[in-house]
């Protein structure tokens, strides 16, 4: 059975062209990009080409504003701990309540070291509260870190406006753009971003490689020390095959932004969403439907639990994710849905479908055919319903 992969916010298929570009750098061109001999040194060109490709995807002015990292988590950690070290006289960070744990957890660490962190709330549609940001920011704020798009609902945040507010108060602005890169146009210059994190495997590159944009002239203290690589901003031998991979993936992603792929993905997503709403009662769409990345829909099925839905979908090879407690192992439903105050009878039954341009109309038809009986079956087992919840 061929899987119907609708979990592209978790990870994407590494495109064959990307793998093909990477392969020579394992066993043939295996030299160290920092070596003096031609055999290794020629790989420097491959690394710098990738840097330019990555810079182009986010419209960085200079390629050297890109630092390659092992993943977006490393990029995020690097920014938060760098800022904490660079601005010891300040003691305040502002982020949002719906960030990925890769931002929230370093924030918690900084709190235990005496930093104040404010978590800006979102409304029921998951929209960022600019007024709350304005009321909390002051001269003590070193950094504002807000994601470009939310991983669970796809809701896009007004990063340019947030950056403007941050800069007006002398704070730097970081954005975790993991779920935006490759899905919507990103322009770090237009949005006036100081730091930006991305991960290759979210846009059809390999796992284990990410990038961090640091605007020229921004204070930055390296997270990894022990070598001269990446202009002393990230020590460790350049991971040439994976750097080539993220570069190629960035190049392909940029093409997809303008070749109609995104419109195709959005049309399939909308078909799926409309089909579900039409066929199944007591469902709720989570997120800002007017302002989302094109590939994501987050749908709650009332009075049943998400893991059970996923297990049944799995029988048809349909891959999706849930914000339910049971799938996370945390015993609590997703912090994003709770921040949006999604009622519990809906939060536990949320399913995220995230598409890519490889999905087909036929696949969406299969989901629309198989899903309604699954929901009906689980609702028959459930002691709850609209009447007695």
């Amino acid at each position: 059975m061929k899987e119907i992969y609708l979990d592209n916010n978790a990870t994407t298929r590494c495109y064959p062209q990307v793998v093909e570009a990477m392969l020579p750098y394992f066993s043939e061109k295996y030299g160290n990009a920092s070596s003096m001999h031609t055999f290794g040194g020629q790989n420097r060109h491959a690394v710098e080409t990738a840097r330019a490709q990555m810079a182009a995807l986010i419209n960085a002015e200079h390629a050297d504003e890109i630092i390659f990292t092992s993943c977006a988590t490393e990029s995020n950690d690097s920014v938060l701990f760098s800022v904490a070290e660079s601005f010891p006289q300040k003691k305040h960070i502002i982020t949002s309540a719906v960030e990925h744990p890769a931002v929230l957890e370093p924030c918690h660490v900084l709190e235990s070291r005496g930093w104040r962190v404010d978590y800006i709330r979102v409304d029921a549609q998951g929209r960022f509260d600019l007024d709350e940001l304005k009321s909390l920011i002051d001269g003590d704020t070193a950094l504002v870190s807000v994601m470009w798009a939310n991983n669970e609902t796809g809701t896009i945040f007004p990063v340019a406006e947030i950056a403007k507010i941050a800069h007006a108060h002398g704070a730097l602005f970081h954005t975790d753009a993991v779920q935006a890169a490759g899905k919507i146009a990103i322009d770090v210059q237009a949005a006036d971003v100081d730091f930006l994190s991305v991960s290759a495997h979210k846009f059809h590159g390999p796992k284990g490689i990410g990038a961090l944009y640091v605007r020229r002239g921004t204070r930055f203290v390296p997270y990894l020390v022990g070598g001269h690589q990446e202009k002393r901003r990230r020590a460790g031998t350049e991971n040439v095959p994976y750097i080539v991979g993220i570069g190629k993936a960035a190049e392909l992603a940029q093409k997809r932004l303008t070749d109609g792929s995104m419109q195709k993905i959005a049309a399939l997503r909308d078909k799926l969403e409309k089909g579900i709403v039409a066929a199944i009662p007591d469902v709720k769409i989570n997120g800002d439907v007017q302002n989302r990345v094109p590939n994501t829909t987050n749908i709650s099925f009332g009075y049943i639990e998400g893991e059970s839905i996923l297990m049944y979908l799995n029988d048809f090879g349909i891959c999706a994710s849930s914000g339910s407690a049971c799938t996370s192992g945390s015993l609590e439903p997703s912090h994003v849905l709770r921040a949006m105050k999604v009622p519990f009878q809906f939060a536990h039954g949320s399913i995220r479908f995230s598409l890519s341009d490889e999905n087909t109309e036929a696949e969406i038809d299969t989901v629309l055919k198989e899903l309604p009986p699954i929901i009906e079956r689980l609702r028959k087992i459930s002691p709850f319903s609209k009447e007695n919840a």
Partner: protein
Amino acid sequence: MWDYTDKVMDHFKNPRNVGSIPNADGTGQVGSLVCGDALRLTLKVNKETEVIEDAKFETFGCASAIASSSMLTEMAKGKTLDEAARITNQDIADELGNLPPEKMHCSVMGMEALEAAIKSYRQGGKPVVFEQQEEKLVCRCFNVSEEAIIKAIRLNHLTTVEDVTHFTKAGGACGRCKGDIQKILDKVNGAKAEEQPVQKPFGELTIVEKIKAVEKVLEEEIRPKLNMDGGSAELIDLSGNVVKIRLVGMCSGCMNAQATIKNFIEKTLQEKLDATITVEQA
């Protein structure tokens, strides 16, 4: 991806005894929509023999919750109430060929629903909601009582706080009760309280000795627990038996800051050092 046994998958995909018995002789309910899992169990009981002639369930929850409920009804049917009352969560898990450790609470939910349903029968059939004893609640996020935790520890030979969370959910949300769970574990498992060395009265210590003594308690007893919530505490000043403490991190803006200072930090310092110590927030 959970590692479910074939039997769990079978009972999840083909649940036995789904539904609700009309005019049931006993009805037990446990869990809620908020908790993320809930089970409603109805029994038909032969009044003469007290044999459970039929059992049906309705469950809101994950695959292992549905499978545990289904298995529970299969196990209960044909047993007398006294026999059924002896079914433990481990029996349910064993019949399913085991559950992932993080999912053991699903089998506990089954045991609790059965307990409630039997109680309901004994009380004349009015539905009984499995209640944790309110005055002894340890975990307030998931409403888990000390009794339920002790029972889970004894039945399943639990040794760590993580185990207790997997079996009862206690401590799985805010984590504030993890210290209390450890205490219950120590009590049930007979851990010996560390012998206290003979101490000079706090008032007779030099200022340096006082600082070191308070720091030691902060480091060993207080910070580890505050750290679980992303907070910490710093010693700011000391005068006589008055200790000034500043809460930092998550604790600093916490609504319960004053309670943390008085009920936790002051109490701990009093227990460990001197009953006359008072703590003030700096």
